[in-house]
Symmetry: none
């Protein structure tokens, strides 16, 4: 069964398999053979399209960054009331991490390697220019309405919003163990979602 001549499909299947593998085992633990097998592609094609393992890792990372930022953009926060916008971003971010744990492990791997790959990427910074401006605007509107306290930096806020969910979900195994609770039980997840929204919105109050 030779792989039919569909370059775009071959490439995307490799990328998908790689994302899965890197997410599960990290960059160092990922196995090129497994990626090729899962993609039902010849190992050689991986190098044909992505250069080497690290090139493939960067491609996967860029792809996942593009994915979350695209999803974020479709929230259309610019047209919403400031408090609604923040709440919506908080909920979206929580749900995104919940539904895409592979993104968190990819980021952990990249940071373990001191951002070596993302530093070389031109695409990644480009994707984020929009986000900060958008959040700044939301904060400004909230301040103008007298709802939000002043002086909140949009980057700091974003990191807080993401951090609330990220730490909980990324470290779910150790946290579940040390606190002797199943943090992934449906009820626990619902409670955390509510807790985060409460924390962020209360923290922004005047």
């Amino acid at each position: 069964m030779k792989n039919g001549r569909d370059p775009a499909r071959t490439r995307s299947k490799i990328l998908e398999a790689a994302t899965c593998e890197f997410a599960r085992y990290g960059l160092g633990g990922a196995r090129v053979d497994r990626i090729a097998a899962r993609a039902r592609a010849n190992k050689r094609m991986l190098y044909y399209y992505f250069g080497d393992k690290e090139g493939l890792f960067l491609a996967a990372l860029e792809d996942r960054y593009a994915h979350i930022r695209n999803a974020e953009r479709s929230l259309e926060l610019e047209h919403l009331d400031a408090r609604v916008a923040v709440r919506r971003l908080v909920e979206f971010t929580w749900n995104y991490f919940l539904d895409h744990p592979e993104f968190m492990t990819l980021l952990n791997s990249e940071n373990l390697h001191k951002g070596r790959h993302v530093r070389r990427s031109r695409r990644v910074p480009e994707m984020h220019s929009h986000l900060v401006g958008l959040l700044r605007d939301v904060l400004r509107r909230g301040e103008a309405q007298g709802l939000f306290r002043k002086g909140v930096d949009p980057v700091q806020l974003y990191i807080s919003i993401a951090g609330e969910g990220y730490f909980y979900l990324s470290n779910r195994y150790t946290l579940s163990r040390i606190f002797d609770r199943d943090l992934m039980a449906p009820r626990a997840l619902a409670l955390r979602a509510r807790h985060i929204a409460d924390m962020i919105l209360n923290a922004l109050r005047r």
Copy 2:
């Protein structure tokens, strides 16, 4: 000059070297040879004392958990005013992650492996029974004084406090890149510390 016959010292040097190596490269990326070299110990000794690489990893993890919890205990939060206690814990947690980045990468590794090692550990959960009770008490006192809002779960709060610093510091490389800011510049660190304290304390307000 062979390593003098000082078993305890040999063991602790291996543990220290291992912590350093695991923190830097992750469990998968860590190299037994490098650990032995850095500890100036024979590789065989590593197996003698810790069984295998994973046993060594668990030992390092337990050691680091013990370290942070001990440091935390010396804060003596039980004798402080509720707001002061929270602020002190927030600051401590931030500073601990800042000063001990190896702890974060260790935790990331352990979670990448789905908590496989910590699950087998009896010591780890024991160390944490104290922490939750302590925080619950602080929250209760704050509520009683009318300073804190009701219904805040101590575990959720702790995860929020830790998450605010953890995400920022653990993902410093990617975040610095996507937001085009040096998050580790002294000024940036000071701003983050203040931001976190503001967020947490505001979020707890009635």
Copy 3:
């Protein structure tokens, strides 16, 4: 811009690129991809014209043999005085190796492979029938004039003439290192040229 449909040119560009590659890396070290890239040709064309890598190697070798023998022929030794003819051949051979180091490495590769390719070639022996006869004639004339000693075999002489330059130039890197001299410095080259001429002509004296 595809490679214009000029078959002869495509073929000769591949041959040229291959000669360069084989000379630089040897048969084993040569890379088919690099040859194709340097020739700006599709890799498939290489197989189309030359069968396989070894066919290409033989073609390059034959081409280079043809080149040196043609150049040699234009010396027109048959019309010269015996001593002048020998001197001229000596100088030519030295200069040819000096100007065409790729020929030496090609020969080294072929001999490393025990002459496997040249053995299959019909063209190569044909090219050399002339050379021996020519040299024999020169030697005979020199003997007849009482200038050269008797009994010198033309093949042995040719090998001596070539060997004097070949060893020096082919092994220039190791010799420069072991004798702690830059054998390729202009002055060193001039001295060697003179030394060789002296050696050969003195050796032939009666």
Copy 4:
């Protein structure tokens, strides 16, 4: 059948096997697996003792240089009559190349790689300081006796002596083919030995 614990023997068996392999296939064509198999050693040991393939190549090269120079030294040319000394060196050099073709292919490989390994070696140049002085002395004595012509450089002479045999033997396959003669037939070898001696000694005559 584990390889008994005899480090020195393990090392030397690997070196021997490597010399054989490098001589036969060149640096690029040599296969680490074959070397290990021939040495009946674990492949890993090769890296344990020699670092990598190139380290092993350098070790083999140094070893062979040491071998020829040691053999040369035992000729004790310093105590012989000048003409006898030259003749003896000529014969020795011819016979050495004849008996040790692996040395020639090793040198060819090293020169193909532009002397990359030998350049890093400290041992190699040290081995050769003696040789030039020795030859210079022989030449001087020959001159003083009125037997040798003046102005012959010892390094040039050595290269001529070696070159006479090297080119013939190293290129035996191509030369046999182009001259349509078996250059390795016993009679042919004897004739070449005589030819070389005649050439060198005649060339040195006053």
